[in-house]
C-alpha cells in the first residue's frame, strides 16, 4: 500500500478550504498550518499564466526527515505515511531543516508536527479532511499501488509533475497539469 495525493492545479481555485479543514480536524494551533496554498504567476501582463497548488507534506518514499531523525520519532507508518511520534521527539529541529518542502514546524508544546494524511481518518476508510471538504473536488487521495484506485486512474490519464524530485526524496504528491 502506498498512499499518495494528486492535486488538480487546473481545478484548484485557492479557496484555502483545505487549510481550514485541516486546522479544524487536527487541532492545529493558531498561527500554524499543515497545508497551504501556493500561487505561481508567470509572464508579464497581458501574457500571464497562473498555477494554484494546494501543498502539504509529500510523505516521501525516501524521506530525509526520517533519515536524519536521531531518535526514530519520525518514521514510516500505515501505507507509507510519514509520521512523528510526539513522545519520542526531542525537538532538535533536524527534520525541519532536512525537509525541502518546509512542511514541518515545531508545535507550541515542543515536538515537531506536520501533515499526517489524516491517518486517523484513512484507517477508517475516510478521505483526509482536506480532500473531504474540497469544493472543486480537485484533490484525489488513494493507494497508488492499486491500479484500480481513483488516484491511479487519474495519474494514468493526466499529465502531472512532482515538486523538486531532484532533491531525491521521491515525493508522493502529484500535481496534475
Amino acid at each position: 500500500m502506498r498512499f499518495a495525493m494528486a492535486i488538480d492545479t487546473k481545478k484548484c481555485v485557492g479557496c484555502s478550504d483545505c487549510v481550514v479543514a485541516c486546522q479544524t480536524e487536527n487541532n492545529v494551533p493558531i498561527g500554524y498550518c499543515r497545508d497551504w496554498i501556493v500561487e505561481v504567476n508567470e509572464g508579464t501582463y497581458p501574457q500571464l499564466e497562473m498555477e494554484i497548488r494546494s501543498e502539504r507534506c509529500n510523505h516521501c518514499t525516501n524521506s530525509p526527515c526520517v533519515r536524519c531523525c536521531p531518535t526514530g520519532a519520525s518514521h514510516y507508518d500505515y501505507g507509507g505515511t510519514v509520521l512523528v511520534t510526539a513522545h519520542k521527539c526531542i525537538g532538535c529541529g533536524a527534520c525541519i531543516a532536512s525537509c525541502p518542502y518546509d512542511a514541518r514546524y515545531t508545535h507550541p508544546k515542543g515536538y515537531v508536527d506536520k501533515c499526517t494524511f489524516c491517518v486517523h481518518r484513512i484507517k477508517d476508510g475516510l478521505p483526509p479532511a482536506c480532500v473531504a471538504v474540497c469544493p472543486t473536488k480537485c484533490l484525489y487521495f488513494g493507494d497508488t499501488d492499486d491500479p484500480r484506485s481513483e488516484i491511479s486512474q487519474v495519474l494514468k490519464k493526466r499529465k502531472y509533475k512532482r515538486l523538486i524530485p531532484e532533491a531525491g526524496t521521491n515525493p508522493n504528491l502529484y500535481f496534475l497539469i
Partner: protein, 313 residues
C-alpha cells in the same frame, strides 16, 4: 518573470519566511565541540607519538579545558531542544543514518574521556592535589597505566567529533549551501586550527608554540583551499547551489564572510604566523584570538546562511 507566493498565509514560526530553526546554540556548540576535538586530537596524537616532554601544553594543559568546552557545548545543545523533557530518547536509539545520533553517542563517549584524560594529569599541574577517596587513587593509577589505549580511543573519537559536525550539515540536501561534502573536511580543518590556536596560547616553550604555529598555518592553508573549492563546486553545480554560492559572492553574506572569516580569521593570522616564523616578535594572543574568532564566525555564518538557502519559493 516568475513569482511564487504562498497565499494561504503559511507563516509557521521559525519556518517562514525563511527557515530559522537553529539559533546561536548550534553554531556555538559546533565551535566549542570543534575546538575540543582539535585539542584532543593533538593531545592523543602526540601522546601516541611519545612527545609528552616536548609538547606539555598540547598533551597535558590544553585538554584540561576540553571538559568545560564540551559541557558548555552540550548545555547549548540542550537549550536548543524544544521538547527538552524527552532528550533521553537520544540514548534509546542508534540511528546509523542520522549524523545527530552519531553525535549524541560520540559526545556521550568523548566527554567522560576528556574528563578522565585531564584527571590523569591533574597531579602534575597541582602537585598538592590528592583524590579524596582511595578508589579514585586506584582508578587514576589504572588509567595512567593504560593511557596509551585511552589515547587511541580518544584519537578516534576526536576525529569523529571534528568531522561529524560538518557531515551533520552536509547531510541536509534540502539546504543547498550545506549540501556539499567539502563541509566535513572544512569543519575538521577549522577545528584542528582552532585547537592548535588554544594550544599555542597555553604553550610555555618557544619550541611548542612554534610547532603549533606551523600546524595552524598549514590548517589555514587547507581551509582557504577548501573554501575556494566549495565555491568552485557550487558554481559548477545546479541552480540552487549557484544561488547558495551567490549569497557569499555579492549576496547578503558577502561582507561578513569574506571580512570576518577569510580576512580576519584566516589571512591575517596566517600573515602573523609567517612573520613569527621569520623571527619577528608577534604577541601570540593576537594570532590565537583571531583564529578562534574566525572559527566562531565560520560556524555562525554557515549555520545561518544555510538555513536561508532553499529549493522552493
Amino acid at each position: 518573470m516568475r513569482e511564487e507566493l504562498i497565499i494561504s498565509g503559511r507563516m509557521n514560526p521559525m519556518v517562514d519566511p525563511t527557515l530559522n530553526i537553529w539559533h546561536w546554540q548550534i553554531p556555538l556548540y559546533l565551535f566549542l565541540g570543534g575546538v575540543a576535538a582539535g585539542i584532543l586530537f593533538f593531545a592523543s596524537l602526540y601522546y601516541i607519538m611519545g612527545r609528552e616532554k616536548k609538547y606539555p601544553a598540547a598533551i597535558k594543559w590544553a585538554p584540561m579545558l576540553t571538559p568545560f568546552l564540551l559541557i558548555i557545548g552540550l548545555g547549548a545543545l540542550f537549550l536548543d531542544l524544544t521538547h527538552k523533557a524527552f532528550f533521553w530518547q537520544l540514548y534509546l536509539a542508534i540511528r546509523l543514518e542520522s549524523p545527530m545520533s552519531w553525535g549524541a553517542w560520540t559526545l556521550l563517549a568523548i566527554t567522560p574521556l576528556s574528563i578522565v584524560w585531564s584527571a590523569t594529569w591533574l597531579k602534575e599541574l597541582l602537585p598538592a592535589w590528592h583524590w579524596k577517596y582511595p578508589f579514585l587513587e586506584e582508578l587514576e593509577a589504572f588509567f595512567i597505566r593504560y593511557r596509551l589505549i585511552l589515547a587511541w580511543i580518544m584519537l578516534l573519537y576526536a576525529v569523529i567529533l571534528g568531522v561529524y559536525t560538518g557531515i551533520l550539515l552536509s547531510a541536509f540536501n534540502a539546504r543547498p549551501l550545506w549540501n556539499t561534502s567539502i563541509l566535513g573536511p572544512l569543519f575538521f580543518a577549522s577545528s584542528l586550527s582552532t585547537g592548535a590556536a588554544v594550544i599555542m596560547l597555553m604553550a610555555k616553550s618557544h619550541l611548542e608554540r612554534n610547532i603549533f604555529s606551523r600546524i595552524d598555518l598549514m590548517m589555514i592553508g587547507i581551509e582557504l583551499f577548501l573554501i575556494v573549492h566549495i565555491f568552485m563546486g557550487f558554481q559548477a553545480s545546479t541552480q540552487v547551489q549557484i544561488d547558495a554560492a551567490n549569497m557569499f559572492l555579492g549576496g547578503p553574506y558577502t561582507e561578513v564572510f569574506w571580512i570576518f572569516v577569510v580576512f580576519i580569521g584566516l589571512l591575517v593570522p596566517a600573515f602573523l604566523e609567517v612573520l613569527e616564523l621569520l623571527g619577528y616578535k608577534i604577541p601570540i594572543v593576537i594570532t590565537s584570538t583571531l583564529v578562534l574568532t574566525g572559527g566562531l564566525f565560520l560556524r555562525f555564518i554557515i549555520v545561518y546562511a544555510g538555513q536561508a538557502s532553499r529549493y522552493l519559493y
